[in-house]
């Protein structure tokens, strides 16, 4: 029987287009210091039994086995450590792996260390490295570029369901404007000393008028590229209760996968894996997943809900941090997570349900569009954010109470790689 596992501490760095002031390991130390010293805990560094190191690319720094450098730099030798990599889902998979390490009894207290430094190559080269995480025999050589892949999927979602560019723009506005109350956010120049100078609030009109990168996606529909780090500490039930009065339990976790080449995914009539609150009749005419939906996201949610006993996610969840690599993929993910019927994700944001003061706030931190996407740190950042939300201390860490979701008791974190190749979702509860 798996042991109960809780999050007990979290830490983040300021996120930035380029943190040239520090190396990767120095950024990781900045986040680890916050986790150990700025959370209300009774935990010494020596009580950490091992680490799970989370980073995506060996190319950005041209350094292999960076996990060893981190382990040494943070002073954890000779304790166990493992590196987790799963594209954009690296961070979420690392959190899930740390959960497994603690639940199984391999570790009592585990530190997840996520980081990425993407600024040492130019943006086009960075995009090329990211595109190397698509099929390099078939998809990359024709001009492969992740924004292009997601644009193809978004255009098909528009065709299937009538989703609009305005609805996508609303996602960008929501997340970007939430980020203006989070001091860690890259688009928040008022609170983040490393923030982008042309950050700040935006409107739907700003998004619609921003230049196309890959139709229908425009510059402001697309997430950031960032430098930064995030650290989360997990502990067994026995340890967690000694470390903190407010442990946040991980009560469910799931993971799903799909074909690297999205074109290879099935288009099965009535093929949607049904969630408890759904009716199979809804989707009897839908070919699934095709390139309009993320089957791996649905599968990860299905498992996590089952494990946590969630039968109606829209009612039973109080907050979500999800992987908004693109505004379109946030809308697609609403549907995969069962927050809206397939095809009605756009309406969810339009109706304000996912706004910070809505029924189910999504990405109160600002997400990948407003706050950061330092790939290996991203999923860990989401877990740290949800941990602070459920402890009710988000305002203290963010430097503004406006990001705190009132009385949040249960939340979901969602981490997603390459057009939905790897997706993981976990449930956290007070």
């Amino acid at each position: 029987m798996a042991r109960k596992v809780a999050a007990v501490a979290g830490g983040l760095t300021y996120f930035s287009k380029a943190r040239r002031d520090k190396t990767q390991e120095e950024l990781a130390a900045e986040a680890a210091r916050m986790a150990l010293f700025d959370n209300d805990i009774d935990l010494g560094k020596d009580e950490i039994d091992g680490t799970i190191v989370s980073y995506f690319s060996d190319h950005f720094e041209n350094q292999l086995l960076f996990g060893s450098i981190i382990q040494d730099y943070l002073g954890f030798n000779p304790k166990p450590s493992v590196r987790i990599e799963g594209g954009g889902a690296t961070g979420g998979l690392a959190v899930r792996d740390a959960y497994a390490h603690v639940a199984s009894g391999l570790l009592d207290v585990a530190m997840v260390i996520g980081f990425e430094k993407m600024s040492e190559v130019n943006t086009a080269k960075g995009n090329e490295f990211i595109a190397l995480a698509s099929d390099t025999d078939w998809d990359f050589p024709i001009g492969g570029f992740y924004s292009g892949y997601y644009a193809l999927m978004a255009r098909r979602h528009m065709e299937e369901f009538g989703t609009t560019e305005e609805q996508m723009a609303m996602v960008a506005v929501k997340n970007r404007n939430n980020a203006q109350h989070n001091k860690f956010a890259q688009t928040n120049p008022k609170m983040n000393p490393f923030g982008m100078k042309d950050g700040g609030k935006i409107t739907v009109d700003d998004v619609l008028k921003s230049p196309y990168v890959a139709f229908p996606l425009k510059r402001l529909d697309i997430c950031l590229m960032s430098d930064g780090a995030a650290v989360l500490i997990l502990a067994s039930e026995e340890k967690a209760k000694k470390i903190t009065d407010t442990p946040i339990w991980i009560t469910g976790t799931g993971a799903g996968t799909d074909a690297m080449r999205a074109g290879d995914r099935p288009r099965t009539l009535a093929g949607v894996p049904i969630l408890p609150h759904e009716n199979k009749q809804w989707y009897k005419k839908l070919e699934y997943p095709g390139v309009h939906s993320f089957r791996a996201g649905r599968e990860s949610a299905r498992q996590a809900y089952k494990m946590a006993g969630i039968t109606n996610p829209l009612k039973q969840l109080d907050a979500i941090e999800l992987h908004d690599a693109y505004t379109s993929s946030e809308i697609q993910t609403y549907e995969d997570l069962g927050l809206a019927k397939y095809g009605e994700g756009g309406k969810l944001v339009e109706d304000g349900v996912t706004a910070i003061n809505g029924d189910l706030p999504v990405n109160p931190s600002g997400g990948l569009i407003g706050t950061m996407h330092a790939v290996g740190a991203t999923g860990v950042m989401q877990a740290v954010e949800m941990f602070w939300q459920l402890q009710g201390v988000a305002g203290k860490f963010h430097g503004s109470d406006k990001t705190q979701v009132k009385n949040a008791e249960r939340g979901l974190i969602h981490s997603h790689a390459g057009t939905g190749t790897y997706v993981t979702a976990s449930i956290m509860e007070r």
């Binding site: 080269k125 025999d137 924004s147 644009a151 990168v213 074109g263």
Partner: protein, 148 residues
């Protein structure tokens, strides 16, 4: 000599180049058939499923597949016009990517659409695959054009 980008903090430039001997393995036939003007896919007779890009092994039943020739005719399933890309393709911008549904193929095939008026691209539009006469031995040796 090492190029210095900044002194505080100290930032140096480190170039890095390499060349791989990359094998296409059993899918080589796709590329070598192009010079004969043939567009080949692979088929699993057991699962009655045809793959393009080709796979030597069927992911559903793990049987070995066989080669079949396809017509290269099809329709646009979805499209995007790119105005930015990875470093390697910046020189080609803007260009259009499409997933196409090809006759006799069960997967969608990702390729470029070469079309005079990019605003006229539509989902459902008929296309025909074209083959380059100057092979680069890459998937970009084929592309879609409107079928008129």
């Amino acid at each position: 000599m090492t190029e210095v980008y900044s002194m505080d903090p100290l930032i140096i430039k480190t170039p890095y180049e390499m060349s791989y001997k990359h094998s296409y393995g059993k899918t080589s036939k796709f590329f070598t058939s192009l010079s004969a003007g043939k567009l080949m896919a692979t088929r699993c007779d057991h699962c009655k499923f045809t793959f393009l890009p080709p796979r030597a092994d069927c992911p559903y039943c793990l049987a070995e597949t066989k080669w079949v020739e396809i017509s290269g005719k099809g329709i646009v399933h979805t499209f995007s016009t790119l105005y930015f890309s990875g470093e390697k393709f910046l020189k080609d911008l803007p260009f259009q990517l499409v997933y196409v549904e090809l006759e006799g193929v069960d997967t969608l095939f990702l390729t470029r659409l070469k079309i005079k008026d990019k605003n006229s691209t539509k989902i459902g539009m008929k296309i025909k695959m074209k083959i380059s006469r100057e092979p680069e031995w890459r998937s970009s040796d084929v592309w879609a054009e409107p079928e008129d």
